[in-house]
């Protein structure tokens, strides 16, 4: 039998945390003195708490841990651990990309003495686009669910025996920005006869974003500011064209290229 303080020291966990776990029914003391309210733990609970702390390190939330401890199906449990490993892998990749961004930024800053200088790299051009026949797949989704949408689009492309004539695009039909409930259409250009609908050509403000998607807001910002400053207004859904991507075989994120188009007209 261990008092809460002994148990806390044994597992390197604060007393507050133990009381919290008691309250949310994640780990109840083996015995509570009815009169004093003191909590006492068995030595067999030590490995249980250590497992909880370990799962926490893996990145599971306490609610998820509760589920996991309850899971009797060993395959399911292993699958969840495996899934978490993939999530950690993704995190690792994201942090690497951000570190690269930070290094570039720091270099720009030390060269120019201007903390904003990294933003000058967007060259904005006016372009008259042609009509574009596409097959599209449109849905309310999180911006992180792109992968899924790609999948569904290409299922359809395969089913209808279409031949894509250019790289994948994404249209942003939203009126309000909401990252996990966006009205996005992914599309590929196809021959006119096979098309779903046609994007009418128009005057567009265009720029090219180099690198990962985390910093694409920079390009959007530069474009929107330019459009407002030059007396234009946006007249249709802006869209991205993914020229260089892991999908077309460019694995090095730093070499990705995305064209961003805002259909515009004079105000």
């Amino acid at each position: 039998m261990l008092s809460i303080g002994e148990f806390s020291r044994a597992c390197q966990v604060t007393i507050k945390t133990l009381r919290h776990y008691d309250k949310i029914d994640l780990l109840k003391p083996a015995y509570i003195d009815a009169q004093s309210g003191y909590r006492y733990y068995e030595t067999e609970q030590v490995p249980q708490l250590l497992l909880i702390q370990r799962l926490k390190r893996y990145g599971f939330s306490l609610a998820e841990i509760q589920q996991l401890l309850f899971t009797k199906d060993k395959c399911l449990l292993a699958a969840k651990l495996s899934a978490q490993k993939n999530i950690l892998e993704q995190q690792l990749a994201q942090v690497s990309v951000i570190m690269y961004e930070l290094e570039q930024h720091l270099a720009d800053f030390e060269r120019t003495g201007d903390i904003m200088s990294y933003q000058n790299k967007y060259q904005i051009v006016l372009k008259e686009t042609e009509d574009l026949a596409v097959v599209g797949y449109r849905q309310q989704m999180s911006v992180d669910d792109f992968g899924q949408a790609y999948g569904k689009l290409f299922e359809r492309v395969a089913r209808e025996h279409c031949q894509p004539t250019g790289p994948v695009m994404a249209f942003y039909h939203d009126r309000v920005f909401d990252p996990d409930n966006s009205d996005i259409e992914v599309a590929v250009p196809v021959a006119a006869g096979q098309a779903d609908h046609v994007i009418s050509g128009s005057l567009c403000a265009v720029t090219i974003h180099h690198g990962a998607y985390a910093s694409m807001a920079d390009a959007y910002g530069a474009l929107t500011a330019w459009i407002d400053d030059n007396g234009y207004e946006v007249i249709a859904a802006p869209y991205d064209i993914y020229w260089k991507n892991h999908q077309n075989g460019v694995s090095n994120v730093e070499q990705w290229e995305t064209e961003i188009r805002f259909p515009i007209a004079k105000r």
Copy 2:
């Protein structure tokens, strides 16, 4: 002039976030209509908000970002960015270690079918230790401030021309566990004449922990449970001996070795 909705779309930031930044004085709209309360932003504020989002990606808190934007000293600013880069690097290393832990755990689990099987690796032995003459440096500190303490200890060792006769150790004098306010003493064994004080030998429960320090709680837990189960009690501050470490040239975390000793006596 951009309405809050336009500004939000331009920078890919939710309206709620913009109102929050207004409230905490991080980014105030250029103009607020006195009668309607509507917020309006200038296009020049777009790069400002984009910078804020970027610093947020780097891992700064909003409070830190406020400080950074206020900082006029460019060297200081560059230093803070650089420091953040180091923090990201550390995070990267930590996540790698955790992924390795997870992989090992998953392998153990799939081999044995027991989610706890990873904990059976601690062999606990009883050992009668000798008196130990040491030079130590004791302070209230966070468990993450070990590096600092090492530094101070070795400054002193150098100043007093002591010759360490063994690897570094750490004593945990705390009665309550509190990770960022721990009463820790780092020490090295020296020749008897040069010693600061002497650690009396006693019966000890001992085990060896292999690998990174994140999972050392497992070893503590195993020891404490063993001590309680076998009718002993802890009679002095437990301590670690860092046999293999980055300090003695073992860079591969998986090969680190730490001996953990709990001075005990029959209850």
